[in-house]
Subunit: 300 residues, 2 copies
């Protein structure tokens, strides 16, 4: 499964039981944490997401509502006996902040921690399941979005078809590797006849905090799902502009121009006690919009 | 009212819906925040404690479960338009940590923030309502407790008595200031005849994280209430010793030897899902023990 679970959907100040930004991208059982606002470790417990499965953490920028929960989570993982390597990616000063806080507490983490400074658009992770890239967004301070591109999986064996073509089961592994089967009489059973395509590779992008900026488009073009912030409703477009944030219609317009299949919106200002209008306004421009609601898991 | 509201009663790792250490000491409408673990600003909202009334924050030590919520709270106060001066007291490196995090976020707080390095046992605050002192406790890193001594209030006017002695109401303010009233015939009405004593000045101490240490006693002798950590039940005395923490019986013994009136216990290890045994064990040594429960306000 390739999915995104929202842990926090509010902007700067917690309010109305909404928490600061954090979400978990789950892909084939691995958890990638994106942003880590204050209280994220408590949200992880609440929504039963296994902290021990987190191998990578991505911090978009160093406004507190996107990372004040990070050092607490790192600490807790150590106290809980985490042993796997953990890779953290964020703007350069993040390393100094974390190391200073560990030093004054006289804390040595019990697992290997690597903190990487993200600087330019780059590929951060490239393994057999996923490619994760970062791209600059347009915010008041250095800020990055992250894109997750699933690797295309090999075709899957169709056991009924394989039996129908009388292929011995000892050859199944080679079918899974893409080989054709050659009978004793020299006739060939093409691999495509006894395998089915796996689900197509999917793509998701977290667009972080940003003002409306079409420079994002090349990084998210034709994606299956994107998350784009909508701090304000569209009548506060000037305020959004001055604070390097986006409105509902601006996020929806980015989704439309990028030709994505689904838009998640979040990072709602604390001035709003309800969210219905966010959804309604965005859907006027881009129908396949959903509110990023805390605790909800959205399949890509 | 002189009271303590518990915002978090757990030790290092949040668990069982218990939060890391934080409590609010309320005295005559002013809120003094003691420790500020991650999520404190959310607990303040939950328990309807006015953040704007916080003028002083005391951080016992720089283990994360005692201060990781601080910079988020400072940030939020600014975003909420706080304008009053805020004084923060804690071990020296706290200033560097906070200033670094504000700098990388390009944040200028909209209120005056003073961060004081606590180093030796000292008087931190001395105003017309309270004296607040710090004292060293015995923990793995530099750590302080804080004592709150209410100032003795002047006697209160008893209007019925004042009328009975035929004192003109224009003289009432001077009675409140402690003056005697002299009649035209030269006879004197002693102030004590027409005023009543105010409630006696009370004392509360937060003893932070500490192993069992009788050096604390002079700082809390005969206090009305103290908070003392009990990270472990008494069968884990060795573990407590090695980690510079206390057990139930050890906290109770300190309370008993100090001759205090009431003991609050907290900072429970995440290994315990229920707290009844903590109360029972401590009460065997010191009867007037109460669990520090989140959201509960304990009058001093």
């Amino acid at each position: 499964m390739f999915a995104v679970t929202i842990l926090g959907n509010n902007s700067a100040v917690p309010a109305f039981d909404r928490h600061p930004t954090s979400q978990v991208v789950t892909l084939d059982g691995a958890n990638y944490l994106v942003d880590c606002g204050e209280g994220t470790q408590i949200q992880l417990i609440k929504y039963k997401i296994r902290r021990s499965r987190i191998s990578h953490i991505f911090i978009s920028h160093l406004h507190g509502d996107h990372y004040f929960g990070l050092v607490g989570l790192l600490n807790s993982l150590s106290l809980l006996g985490h042993s796997q390597e953990l890779n953290v990616y964020g703007p350069a000063p993040l390393k100094e902040i974390i190391e200073l806080q560990l030093k004054v507490a006289d804390t040595a983490l019990c697992y290997p921690l690597n903190i990487f400074a993200v600087t330019e658009p780059a590929t951060l992770v490239d393994n057999d399941r996923v490619t994760i890239k970062c791209f600059r967004t347009n915010h008041r301070i250095e800020c990055y979005g992250f894109s997750f591109t699933e690797k295309k999986q090999p075709r899957k064996l169709d056991p009924d078809k394989a039996k129908e073509y009388e292929i011995p089961s000892s050859f199944y592994d080679r079918l899974k590797d893409g080989e054709n089967y050659t009978r004793k009489d020299g006739t060939v059973v093409a691999n495509e006849l006894v395998t089915v395509p796996s689900t197509p590779a999917k793509r998701y992008a977290f667009c972080a905090d940003t003002k409306y900026d079409e420079n994002l488009l090349p990084h998210i073009m034709d994606f299956d799902m994107i998350y784009h912030e909508t701090t304000y409703l569209d009548n506060l477009r000037e305020r959004a502009e001055s604070r390097f944030h986006s409105t509902t219609r601006q996020a929806a317009l980015i989704a439309k121009k990028a030709g994505v299949k689904k838009l998640l919106i979040g990072h709602f200002s604390s001035k709003y006690d309800t969210l219905e209008e966010f959804e309604a306004e965005a859907r006027e421009v881009f129908a396949d919009t959903e509110l990023a609601l805390e605790g909800v898991c959205y399949e890509v």
